[in-house]
């Protein structure tokens, strides 16, 4: 029943070997400190590891796979210092969940051995544009405009005798 082969790719993509993850003792300390859990998403990185060892399928909407920020808090707290973010990254890769940018970045490394910006931009421009840069442009232009001199609100001249709080007025 074991399907180790299915997940070999995961271990291939990380610089670790399988045994470096399988030292996990199942204490679930990683879950207690995981920053994805700050979003109340109930993830348990240890279970992700177990799924790999047992050979269970990991869905691409697993919250850990989606939202892991690679903060390495789990690694710092883990008694065995297992680098779980690297597993998550490898899982993403094996599921084809990388962004176009990541793909372009790696491909550029494959071809030239360095990041060749024109290539990366060319590969990702369409995605960047479609993925929100244009759509949200008015919005972020607005944010930028907020800092222009004529947009910055000035405080009214304070009147000390009235005893009013200047900052409150300024805000209203």
């Amino acid at each position: 029943m074991i399907k180790e082969k299915d997940h070999e790719i995961v271990f291939k993509y990380t610089c670790y070997r399988r045994e470096d993850f399988s030292v996990c003792v199942g204490c679930k300390i990683c879950a207690s400190v995981c920053s994805v859990n700050d979003l109340a998403l109930n993830v348990n990185p240890q279970e992700l590891l177990l799924k790999l060892f047992v050979g269970e399928k990991i869905e691409d909407d697993h919250p850990l796979v989606r939202y892991c920020t690679s903060c390495y808090r789990c690694t710092a707290a883990c008694p065995w210092q297992i680098r779980i973010p690297e597993v998550v990254r490898a899982v993403k890769e094996s599921l084809g969940m990388e962004s176009r940018f990541e793909k372009a970045f790696k491909k550029s490394l494959d071809i030239w051995g360095r990041v060749y910006e024109p290539f990366v931009v060319a590969m990702t421009a369409l995605d960047l544009l479609r993925g929100g840069y244009i759509k949200y442009m008015p919005k972020w232009m607005g944010y930028a405009g907020f800092h222009l001199p004529h947009k910055v609100k000035r405080l009214k001249p304070t009147n000390a005798s009235k005893g009013s709080n200047p900052s409150e007025e300024g805000r209203s």
Partner: protein
């Protein structure tokens, strides 16, 4: 003969006892201001240490040097010359290393509300006055600073110690107690204590945490259990800290010429002996161990130091008072299938004492099967692999044996070759060609007198191997565990025999003519010192006289302690204490 003992902890004192009893000169070097070591840092054990030490304190042949630090040690013609920092010079023929263990200091987590177990011990110490006002919710967290990358051994005592702290807490107040554990590594009777505490409302959660948010009122702790992340407030969080080797061992090793193993403990060449001649080792310098084992190894090291290596081969195991039983054959029929599943879990606290034995054998078997190329799963409810056992466990994990840890509320249902783990939010099904369960082996242990189970706690501490007056349990029957302990136990028992002095007793006598063989004395005896023998007796009931076998009570002299319960229970007054 001069015997130098380095370390005035419980193990060093035990070794000194044996040596003093054999009329040798003993010098104890203690690095702090008074003997006691780690045991005397525990409030409830301090008294015990004192009574133990008082038996030899002030003896003529004993010298205790406090605040001692060794500057130099030379060896010439099998004699050690040791120079202390203050210029004093000592000579010794034999040296016993009993430096003990050093508690880990979790500086990264400690705070005013997050305490180490030793700090918490001072909080619940009766002699320190009242308990804090807010003492309603206490959380215990096991395995801090052990079983990790920088120290892969299990400290083997933190679980037991936590259980004692729970006990001492409940003796003084009734807070809500939660114990967060990875594995509950108890020994012997502690499984019964665990069950009693569970029934009394102590919560056990199989999860651990390193998320402690401390403020003035308490600690917020996050943990993941039952398929979801939970957040709880505790007044105090107690970290059960791991015990590590004494850092000074390395320097001592250079001076006396013995070597250390990669984990920082003394390399044990032969049982309780280092690889330097004339240097012996006991207690926490060997590996993390509890108090009764420290006493045992102390007795053992004292015995070897007194008797010398030459006599060892002839004496070991030949004393008729030593009682050992061979451990049961642990045959695992090797399955032909490709998948094997072990289930390491039992519900009965009686079987609990065999967790350690079965765990080590299961790990061994699982590793062998894995090496043969099979997929091996181990469902664990509790994996008891203390001290060096943890290394084998780690190796098994690295080799690819998959360990699935069952939480408290999870159940494993066996259906032929299918095993199903059910819980809210998790469903796992295994199809195994061969399923090996803990309970299949429980029958091997039935009806045996295990020392670790039947003796009550205080007794077992001070006489670690004694079962009866002429019976000292060693090996499997004393405590079912790893083989490296068996020879240590033999030496410990031999040391204990040297110490043992016969006390005057009066034994009850049975009037065999009148005994009806009802057996009520047998039931009453707390030490199982009464057996029912079948004896021939002439019977004449209506008619011809005939010989028949009738049961008659018989007092086993070796086990009887002369308490008198049998005499007071006997319905026909045939047992009596006869004055002479």
């Amino acid at each position: 003969m001069n015997i130098l003992i380095i370390g005035g902890g419980i193990s060093g004192i035990s070794a000194a006892k044996v040596a003093l009893g054999e009329k040798h000169d003993v010098t104890i070097l203690e690095s702090t201001s008074e003997p006691g070591g780690l045991m005397a840092r525990i409030a409830n054990c301090r008294v015990g240490f004192k009574t133990f030490f008082d038996e030899i304190r002030g003896k003529e042949r004993l010298t205790v040097i406090n605040d001692a630090k060794i500057a130099k040690a030379d060896k010439k013609d099998k004699r050690f010359t040791v120079t202390l920092n203050d210029g004093r010079t000592l000579t010794a023929d034999r040296v016993i290393i009993a430096t003990g263990l050093t508690p880990y200091d979790p500086v990264e987590y400690k705070g005013k509300r997050v305490l180490t177990s030793l700090e918490y011990d001072a909080v619940i110490d009766q002699r320190q006055g009242e308990l804090p006002a807010d003492f309603n919710r206490i959380g215990f967290f096991l395995c801090v600073g052990s079983r990790s990358k920088d120290y892969p051994l299990c400290s083997s005592v933190c679980c037991s110690y936590t259980l004692r702290e729970v006990k001492w807490t409940l003796q003084r107040a009734k807070p809500e107690i939660t114990v967060f554990y990875n594995d509950l590594r108890f020994f012997g009777q502690e499984f019964y204590m665990e069950k009693a505490f569970r029934d009394a409302g102590v919560r056990f959660v199989r999860a651990n945490s390193r998320y402690f948010e401390e403020d003035d009122e308490g600690v917020t702790v996050r943990y993941y259990a039952g398929g979801q992340l939970k957040e709880e407030r505790f007044n105090y969080a107690v970290l059960a800290i791991g015990l590590r080797p004494n850092p000074q061992l390395a320097e001592l090793g250079r001076m006396f010429g013995f070597s250390l193993n990669p984990y920082g403990f003394v390399n044990e060449e032969a049982p309780l002996q280092t690889d330097a001649e004339g240097v012996y080792v006991s207690g926490g310098a060997l590996e993390p161990m509890n108090i009764k084992d420290s006493i045992l190894t102390g007795f053992g090291a004292g015995y070897i130091a007194v008797k010398g290596q030459e006599t060892l081969a002839t004496t070991a195991g030949r004393d008729e008072r030593l009682y050992r039983e061979d451990e049961p054959e642990f045959a695992l029929t090797d399955g032909d299938g490709a998948t094997c599943l072990f289930y390491l879990g039992t519900d009965s606290p009686y079987n609990g004492i065999f967790y350690e034995f079965v765990s080590s054998r299961f790990i061994e078997a699982a590793r062998d099967l894995r090496k043969a190329g099979k997929s091996v799963y181990v469902l664990t409810r509790n994996m008891v692999a203390p001290s060096y056992g943890e290394i084998a466990y780690e190796e098994a994990r690295r080799e690819g044996v998959v360990f699935v840890h069952l939480e408290e509320d999870e159940t494993a249902a066996f259906d032929g070759n299918q095993v199903r783990i059910a819980r809210q939010g998790r469903e796992l099904t295994f199809n195994a060609d061969k399923v090996i369960r803990f309970d299949d082996y429980a029958a091997l242990f039935k009806d045996r007198e295990f020392l670790s189970l039947y003796r009550s706690e205080p007794q077992i501490r001070w006489s670690p191997t004694k079962w009866g007056r002429r019976k000292y349990h060693v090996g499997f029957i004393r405590h079912p565990r790893d083989k490296r302990w068996e020879e240590r136990e033999i030496f410990g028992a031999l040391g204990e025999i040297l110490l043992d002095r016969e006390e005057e007793r009066i034994l009850p006598e049975v009037n065999e003519e009148r005994c009806s063989g009802c057996g009520s004395c047998k039931d009453a005896c707390p030490h199982s010192a009464i057996e029912m023998l079948i004896k021939e007796r002439q019977l004449a009931i209506f008619g011809p006289v005939a010989a028949a076998g009738v049961p008659i009570a018989h007092v086993k002299e070796d086990t009887c302690v002369g308490c008198g319960l049998c005499a007071s229970t006997c319905p026909s007054d045939v047992i009596a204490f006869v004055e002479r």
